[in-house]
């Protein structure tokens, strides 16, 4: 009977045939990108969550908007208001990923862009006489987008690196467990000795 059950289980699994990422942690990361926010949702084993609904929430929890990720779990959102945002993706079966985004990051970047652009223009205007080739706004945007594209794999790598469990924390955890049970053992032994005085 027991073996039959095991056999049945194996067959069901073979029929099912698909592995699943459900047993993994969900990661969501967001980062500023010009006037928009780029984000990614995926599982810690590298499978990205494609075509997933991402809710955009205000700090008080009210829903502002929602976006759907593309095939690679990637999304772009352009905020309209000047509030901090939380991005929340529910992948089902208790897998919820949340990422917070401080709107200051974005406006600072935008402002910095604006000021650097204008100061660059001023400088350019001042030195036009010397015939220094000026960078136009369009060229600057192209450079910015190239830099963003170049940085994207790096950001992805950093996110993955943050999720990596290194040997130190594993050994540390085991150490904590042994230590805790050592204390429990000590307490139990002390109680036992208190009950049974040495003969």
């Amino acid at each position: 009977m027991v073996r039959l059950f095991a056999l049945l289980l194996t067959m069901v699994a073979l029929l099912q045939g698909t592995g699943s990422a459900e047993a993994h942690k969900v990661i969501a990361s967001v980062f500023p990108s010009g006037p928009s926010i780029e984000g990614e949702v995926g599982f810690s084993n590298g499978v990205m969550a494609g075509n997933t609904l991402v809710e955009v929430l205000a700090p008080d929890g009210t829903k502002i908007d929602e976006i759907t990720t593309d095939e690679d779990g990637f999304f772009v959102y352009t905020p309209s208001g000047d509030v901090d945002l939380r991005f929340r993706a529910d992948l089902g079966a208790g897998h919820v990923a949340e990422a917070a985004f401080a709107i200051n990051d974005l406006s600072n970047v935008a402002q910095a862009n604006a000021t650097s652009a204008s100061s660059a223009k001023v400088a350019v205007v001042a030195t036009t006489e010397n015939a220094v080739p000026a960078i136009t706004r369009a060229q600057e945007e192209i450079i910015a987008s190239i830099v963003r594209d170049e940085l994207r794999p790096l950001r992805r790598e950093i996110t993955a690196y943050k999720e990596k469990n290194d040997l130190q924390s594993i050994l540390g955890g085991i150490g904590y467990i042994f230590g805790a049970f050592g204390i429990v053992y000590y307490l139990a032994a002390r109680r036992l000795r208190a009950k049974a005085p040495e003969a």
Partner: protein
Amino acid sequence: MHIVDGALAPEVLIGGGGLAVAGLGLGLRKLPIDKIPATGVLSATFFVASLIHVPVGPSSVHLIMSGLAGLVLGWTAFPALFVGLLLQAIFFGFGGLTVLGVNTVNIAFPAVLAGLLFRGMVARVPPVPAAVLGGVAGAFSIALTTLFVAIALGLSGDAFIPAAKLVFFAHIPIMIVEGLVSAASVYLIAKVKPALLQPADPVEDFQMQAAVLRANQAEQTPNG
């Protein structure tokens, strides 16, 4: 397997916390002094097992090893798995602190049930059938855990039947891998140290208590 922060309704979190505290209390009361080292080792096993990824098809699953803890420890699996979950939440960010109670109940209670159901049989039969039973116990506790996860999600507003189906089918590879690893572990234990699988022996307990009583009496006689 690990439900994360923010996926459950507050009522479910509180209920799960209450049940976990009850289970912990019961487990600690039933913790005999000579099982404490085994409890610690199985707690560490559970803690590390989640990092061992087994490739299944295009993806991979990680071990849980709650069935083995239930087989060896019985009710004491509650404190062992609680400590493991707590450290997983702190060190690796699996699950979270607010859902710790629910996760403990979801994983430890099936382990205890698997222990209660299979322990007696596993202790009595020779190593090979014991290994088969151990494997079934491992798979059984995962299956029950998926049911508990689905119940927790169902109580928090998800539709129960689709959630249960999704979680159950997602965990079928884990059940199989877990069953195999549990079977191998039980086989090894049955060969090397079968005493670990014996339920607490009432005779031994009595002898221990009798020794304590005798020591007490020996101390009191000169006074009388």
